[in-house]
Amino acid sequence: MRIHDVNILLVDDEKEFTATLAERMALRGLRVRCAYSGEEALKQIATEKPDVVIMDVMMPGLKGLDILRHLKATNPEIQVILLTGQAGTRDGMEGMKLGAFDYLLKPLELDALLAKIAEAAAIGGKAQ
């Protein structure tokens, strides 16, 4: 399986960021969907299970770490990559303890994210 077969869900309340990032990923042929809140993410995950979730830690309503806890309890096979601000390394490390695959600091370059997605999907057996 290639990275293009990985089902990706982007979760961030920053709509412009999320939509632009998704557009760039789609231009590269990746299968990507967007959710703009934690609640919306959970609905989408219930409808179609992603392989990799890329999720901001600090969102209004359901926080990234809350969703991570829920996912690891209900769908532990889904790999989660957290996005955090530079000052949020503590949140990132907390996320790792809760079972996140890794965390990346914002702003991030697409190539770094794609490499991380490939690694995360490989853990789940979905990418080469």
């Binding site: 960021f17 632009t20 990032l21 601000g85 530079q86 503590r90 914002k106 702003p107 370059e109 697409l110």
Partner: protein, 241 residues
């Protein structure tokens, strides 16, 4: 997030609002980064389209200029990210258990934030970390307790150093204390600048200026502090979202 051990009311207020604003600025920069990337993707796609249509005079005629501008914008964005990151670190400097940063990292951030002030006299301050091991253990200090006096010191000596001069700042852990040494690359220091710094540091608690010859480098010592949380701070106070 702001830790509960920040005690100074005004400082806490500034720390909370600055940290929150820096967090949001990083979101803005993240959007810029992706938008620039998408523009570059579009320009690259334009090249591929032109190659496919051999002999067809089309495509985007200002492509090279746009690529230059995008490169320049990315450079400015990196500068903004660096400044905002340093500002975020400063915003957390009141915390005892806050954002992890060693004294050299915190001082480098402070120097970046002060660059504009130092440029008034074209002063260059180089942080010398050659003597710091990667796994160096540092005394437990709030960053503000040494960054504040250090900033005051630099500002005090600014009018007394020659225009365009260079200072070297070294940072060492020394028996439960942090030792900062500021001087010219040749090891000396302007006596007038030293006197001005002495006046400022006399009014700053926590910093000890080591006595020395009038033209000796300036040595500041900051003693390790107790790590207990002040009882006046309620648990969970100052949590920024």
């Amino acid at each position: 997030m702001i830790d509960v051990s920040a005690t100074d009311g005004d400082g806490r207020f500034l720390g909370v609002v600055t940290a929150a604003a820096c967090h949001d600025l990083m979101n803005v920069y993240a959007t810029f980064t992706q938008a620039f990337g998408l523009m570059e993707d579009c320009l690259a796609a334009d090249s591929r389209t032109r190659l496919k249509s051999l002999g067809f005079k089309g495509g985007f005629e200002h492509k090279e200029r746009f690529q230059e501008l995008l490169k320049m914008l990315r450079g400015q964005l990196a500068r903004a990210v660096g400044l905002t990151d340093a500002l975020a670190l400063a915003a957390h400097s009141l915390e005892r258990g806050g954002r992890p940063a060693s004294p050299p990292e915190a001082i480098a951030a402070m120097l970046l934030l002060c660059e504009r002030l130092l440029k008034r006299r074209k002063l260059t301050v180089t942080l010398d970390t050659a003597s710091c091991a990667a796994d160096q253990s540092w005394p437990v200090l709030r960053q503000v307790d040494y960054l504040g006096p250090l900033t005051e010191t630099l500002l005090a000596c600014l009018p007394h150093v020659p225009m365009g001069s260079e200072l070297r700042l070294s940072c060492q852990a020394d028996a439960g204390s942090l030792r900062l040494v500021l001087g010219r690359p040749d090891g000396g220091f302007a006596p007038e600048a030293r006197a001005a710094c002495q006046d400022v540091l006399d009014a700053v608690p926590g910093a000890t200026l080591v006595c020395g010859a009038p033209d000796a480098p300036l040595t500041l010592i900051f003693q390790e502090q107790p790590t207990s949380t002040p009882a006046s701070c309620p648990p969970g106070a100052g949590q920024a979202s």
